[in-house]
């Protein structure tokens, strides 16, 4: 099987005060299409930075990322944005719904950005999948945390992305709600054969993924 995500010697350092601070140090790995990978590690080990680089949300100091055969950092910011739109879905710890848009409009957003004609039907269907059809016209501030994250899941899966990036998806939720979200996420993942790349503290969650990548002080610990 071919690798859909491939990181080679990814390094990220920032200058803090006088000394350069290495956040990621020559991280290399590959994820095959349809597989699931959990990036785990202590706080500050560089997990979110790695996820940001894999999704092209940030630029590395050196190294490269191949996403579905595209050299991510050979593209400009707009090129990366378009690639994300085609390939990726996102779930964040703090949901990141647009506050001015209703649940339905938030789910429609990635479809509309691609210029889909049937955005409304597909978004409605997606909301139904996560059990929120009745809340379609509510604004995010009128939804609970669990509901917001379900809207975020509906938004992430509505375009049937090849890759789903999830950053601590249960971090802001209580255990029971978190468990529901995880269940839903893996179900959708199974259904759409999505490649899942997940950042988490939660060992139980990590254990559900096919592979685990443990980061210690910016390096891959074997």
């Amino acid at each position: 099987m071919t690798a859909i995500v491939q990181a080679v010697n990814l390094t990220r350092q920032v200058v803090s005060g006088e000394l350069p601070l290495v956040i990621l140090d020559k991280v290399s790995f590959a994820v095959e299409a349809g597989a699931s990978l959990a990036i785990v590690g202590a706080s500050g080990s560089g997990k979110s930075t790695l996820l940001g680089l894999l999704a092209g949300l940030d630029l590395p100091s050196s190294g490269s990322v191949m996403l579905n055969g595209n050299d991510l950092f050979a593209l400009n910011e707009d090129g990366r944005a378009r690639l994300r739109g085609e390939l990726a879905g996102f779930v964040f710890q703090s949901f990141q719904l647009l506050p001015a848009l209703t649940a339905l409009e938030n789910v429609m957003l990635p479809l509309e950005l691609r210029g889909s004609f049937d955005a409304k039907q597909r978004a409605t269907a997606s909301l139904e999948q996560v059990g929120l059809a009745s809340r379609a016209h509510h604004l995010p501030k009128h939804l609970s945390g669990g509901e917001q994250q379900r809207v975020a899941l509906a938004r992430a899966f509505v375009c049937q992305p090849k890759i789903l990036f999830a950053d601590e998806p249960t971090g802001n939720l209580d255990a029971a709600t978190g468990a529901q979200i995880i269940k839903l996420m893996f179900e959708l993942n199974e259904l759409q054969k999505t490649t899942l790349i997940l950042v988490t503290h939660d060992e139980a969650l990590a254990a559900r993924c096919g592979k685990q990548l443990r980061l210690v002080a910016g390096q891959v610990a074997e």
Binding site: A55, D58, L83, R84, G85, A100, L109, E112, Q148
Partner: protein, 827 residues
């Protein structure tokens, strides 16, 4: 608590949290102080200039000797006093005589202003007195004006006879001051030392002498002195405002306008502060939630932020004052280098400082209340904001503060309330219209981005931005509009060929000859207006006298003779404001007993349409009804009458005629020829007065242009604050959209759509309210016609869209290039 406030303030300052808010406040106080200090200096300068025309700050005039008690009272108050006596007398030289106005003055005259003399008038050789010391009129010598020198063919050093004595002409007066009000100063003038007057033998019983006592000194003492004065009926008080209707009008308009400009700055500042406070609150919700969790009480939090605001406010006010002082100093030295303005007073600075603090509290206090009531749960659920403070309360307080500032800054309820009324109406209408317009547009929008943009706008209190920008735009448009009209109406009123000579005492049998004279000299024949002297006896059969009125001006009007005139048609430079002008058939038929009264004097004397006025003209009485009120442009330099009647009403009254015309400077000798041919005529030269008014208008025009620039700068500050206030939301949104695949082109289109809509709405509302406010101001406050045309709409809409889109693009262009990674870290 205070120390914690201070520490928080310091930390926030370093992180840049305060910059926008303080920038707004510094700009606010800066522009208020600039306008205030500058206007104060110009105001002082203008009144000093006007005082110099009067020769004093205040003077009392009478036809009888003035009581020495006035002098004693003034001296006791530390005021300067000089007296002078003015009377008509013949001046002779080698058998030729000329009727002149002789003014004898005491040493120290004039108290204000400077008489410019040329003491070497040797056949064209001009050497003006340029020494700093005021020239002294030595006993035994006189100064003569050019009219006398020309007509009697005199030179400096020649001798002339006045009464029983001979005097040497020591100098020619180049620039005179203390010319009397109105028509008194008709003849050539001669100045002599008061000590010489007795020896001329002209001071006799029955001499027509006008006694003047002039005062100058500290403004406060002057006002107290004026208030304490108890004049006898035949004494008249004059100060700058009473003295010169044309200068008074100019001065009042200038003050109104500067007041308006200061108000505009206040509105703009308030708006900018409100916007900045909104951003400040949004950014501090988290911190407050944490402090609430840690046990801070609402009241503690409130005090914490209130102290910070006051601390920062005081600093900003001081910085603003410094900015204002420097700005006005720069203005004075660069824009009006010749103006020689006096140092500004402390009051405008104090006023600006207090206004700044009031604005800060009025516009930032309620948003602050929100911080106090943040639910601690926000620590867990970040999307929980503060409970919304009632918008009514929020705007109500702001409006209240503005109202107080308006009345204070404008120094008058009328101006303040007109602006405030428009503001309130604007607020309500804008907010409603903005909602409706957004809904309509959202339905129409085809492109998803546009719909998204409109959605965004209708859900993110964009009404605040639109209202803010509309108010700013309204103020700017009104200032542009009113400023242009103000300058235009002034310049329009004083055309190059404004009449500069008045001719009085023309006898009916001279009319034909006079017309012929003008034709011969190739001067357009002016309209010759009849004048009849009459005394007002009764209004609606109730006798009136000086005692009827409390106001000194009304008293003096009733006590002296009125100049009545008659005409079939209303003079074209008058404007009918009430009632109807008589038709020719009216005036010939039985109901010819009609009068048309100038609206100002009607108000002063309590006359109304339909009142019956009884006049005594040369011993015979008539009663007539007021059938129309007219508006008269006193600064038009043309002949005007308080009361006009149909010709038939005054048919039998003794009449003389008067007129005004423009005599080009090169033809000055024609005036002499006129006097030679018609020796009984009185020719009054008003050229000097016109020049003075023109100079004043020029200065005021310059001031207005400069003040306008400042208002413009404040307007841009509002725009900046408005855009910054939603910057954080926009950045967050852009990061999410980019993560979901939006490219920079898409984001740019999204933002430009948003800004275009904001600009369009603000522009539309600005124009609409500016038209209304401009009309109100022109009609009720400035009393000038304000032109209404399509340009203001074009300027509002196009200007609003271009300006908002351009500055919006400048503030958001980085968002397109920004890496969206901050979305992962923005928790």
């Amino acid at each position: 608590m205070f120390r914690l406030s201070f520490n928080l303030l310091r930390r926030d300052w370093r992180s840049g949290e305060w910059r926008v808010l303080l920038l707004a406040l510094v700009l606010a106080v800066g522009s208020l102080a600039t306008v205030g200090l500058f206007a104060d200096r110009v105001r002082i300068a203008l009144s000093q200039q006007a005082a110099s025309l009067l020769g004093a700050d205040l003077r009392i005039t009478s036809t009888r000797p003035l009581s020495s008690a006035y002098r004693a009272e003034a001296v006791a108050r530390g005021l300067q006093v000089v007296e002078s006596r003015t009377f008509p007398s013949m001046v002779s030289r080698e058998g030729r005589v000329l009727l002149c106005e002789i003014q004898s003055v005491e040493a120290g005259y004039p108290l204000r202003g400077k008489i410019e003399i040329d003491d070497a008038f040797q056949g064209g050789l001009v050497a003006r007195n340029s020494s700093r010391q005021p020239p002294v009129l030595v006993s035994g010598s006189v100064w003569a004006d050019e009219r006398l020198m020309r007509r009697l063919d005199l030179r400096v050093g020649d001798e002339v006879g006045i009464g029983a004595r001979h005097f040497r002409i020591a100098a020619r007066v180049v620039k005179d001051i203390d010319q009397s009000v109105g028509f008194a100063s008709f003849a050539p003038r001669v100045l002599m030392n008061d000590a010489d007057l007795a020896s001329t033998g002209l001071l006799q019983e029955g001499s027509r002498i006008s006694y003047r006592m002039m005062f100058a000194g500290d403004a406060v003492q002057m006002a107290a002195f004026r208030a304490a004065l108890r004049l006898t009926p035949n004494e008249k008080i004059e100060d700058v405002r009473d003295a010169r209707p044309e200068i008074r009008t100019a001065l009042e308009r200038a003050e109104h306008f500067l007041g308006l400009a200061a108000l505009t700055s206040a509105i703009l500042a308030g708006v900018a502060i409100a916007l900045a406070a909104r951003r400040y609150v949004a950014r501090h919700l988290d911190g407050c939630a944490v402090m609430r969790c840690l046990g801070a009480q609402q009241e503690q939090l409130l005090r914490l932020f209130l102290y910070q605001f006051l601390l920062a406010g005081v600093l900003a006010v001081l910085a603003g004052l410094l900015l204002g002082y420097l700005a006005q100093a720069w203005l004075v030295s660069h824009v009006m280098p010749d103006a020689q303005l006096p140092e500004p007073g402390v009051m405008p600075a104090l006023k600006a400082a207090l206004s700044g603090l009031a604005l800060l509290l009025g516009f930032a206090f309620l948003p602050l209340l929100q911080l106090g009531s943040v639910p601690p749960l926000r620590v867990l659920r970040r999307e929980l904001g503060a409970p919304e403070v009632s918008a009514w309360l929020l705007y109500g307080l702001a409006v209240l503060v503005l109202a107080a500032l308006f009345v204070w800054q404008a120094g008058g309820f009328k101006l303040g309330l007109v602006v405030l009324g428009a503001l309130l109406a604007g607020l309500l209408i804008f907010a409603g219209l903005a909602r409706g317009l957004l809904r309509g547009l959202t339905r129409l929008a085809k492109w998803f981005g546009a719909r998204h943009a409109l959605n965004n706008l209708s859900r993110h209190g964009v009404a605040v931005q639109v209202v803010a920008l509309s108010l700013g735009g309204m103020a700017l448009l009104v200032l542009t509009l009113v400023r242009a009209d103000l300058l235009e109406s002034w310049q329009g009123k004083l055309p190059i060929d404004a009449p500069n000579r008045f001719v009085v005492n023309i006898q009916p049998e001279q009319l034909a000859d006079l017309r012929e004279f003008f034709t011969d000299k190739k001067i357009p024949v002016p309209q010759l207006l009849p004048m009849v002297k009459g005394r007002l006896l009764a209004i609606n059969d109730k006798l009136v006298s000086g005692e009827t009125y409390a106001e000194p001006r009304a008293r003096s009007l009733v006590e002296r003779e009125f100049n009545l005139s008659y005409a079939d048609k209303m003079p074209e430079w008058n404007e009918l404001v009430q009632g109807k002008w008589w038709s020719k058939t009216d005036s010939e038929a039985a109901n010819f007993a009609q009068l048309s009264v100038e609206e100002g004097i009607a108000k002063t004397l309590g006359m109304h349409l339909g009142d019956r006025l009884t006049y005594d003209v040369a011993g015979s009485r008539f009663t007539a009804t007021v059938t129309s009120l007219r508006k008269v442009q006193w600064d038009s330099m043309r002949v005007n009458f308080f009361v006009i009647a149909p010709p038939r009403l005054l048919l039998d009254a003794p009449v003389s005629y008067l007129t005004s015309f423009y005599l080009p400077p090169a033809q000055a000798a024609t005036g002499d020829a006129l006097m030679l041919k018609f020796p009984n005529l009185l020719l009054i030269d008003t050229g000097e007065v016109i020049a003075e008014v023109r100079r004043m208008i020029d200065q005021v025009s310059q001031t207005i242009s400069v003040v306008f620039l400042f208002t413009l700068a404040s307007g841009l500050a509002v725009l900046y604050a408005a855009l910054l206030s939603t910057q954080d939301e926009r950045m967050h949104e852009a990061a999410i959209l980019r993560t979901l695949g939006a490219d920079s082109d898409w984001l740019r289109r999204l933002h430009l759509t948003e800004f275009a809509v904001i600009g369009l709405m603000s522009g539309l509302f600005s124009a609409a309210s500016a038209v209304m406010l401009g009309w109100g101001l022109g009609r009720f406050v400035l009393e000038i016609p304000v032109r209404q045309d399509g340009f203001i709409w074009l300027a509002g809409v196009a200007g609003g869209m271009v300006l908002v889109m351009l500055s919006g693009w400048l503030t958001t262009r980085k968002l397109g290039r920004m890496s969206p990674v901050r979305i992962l870290r923005s928790e």
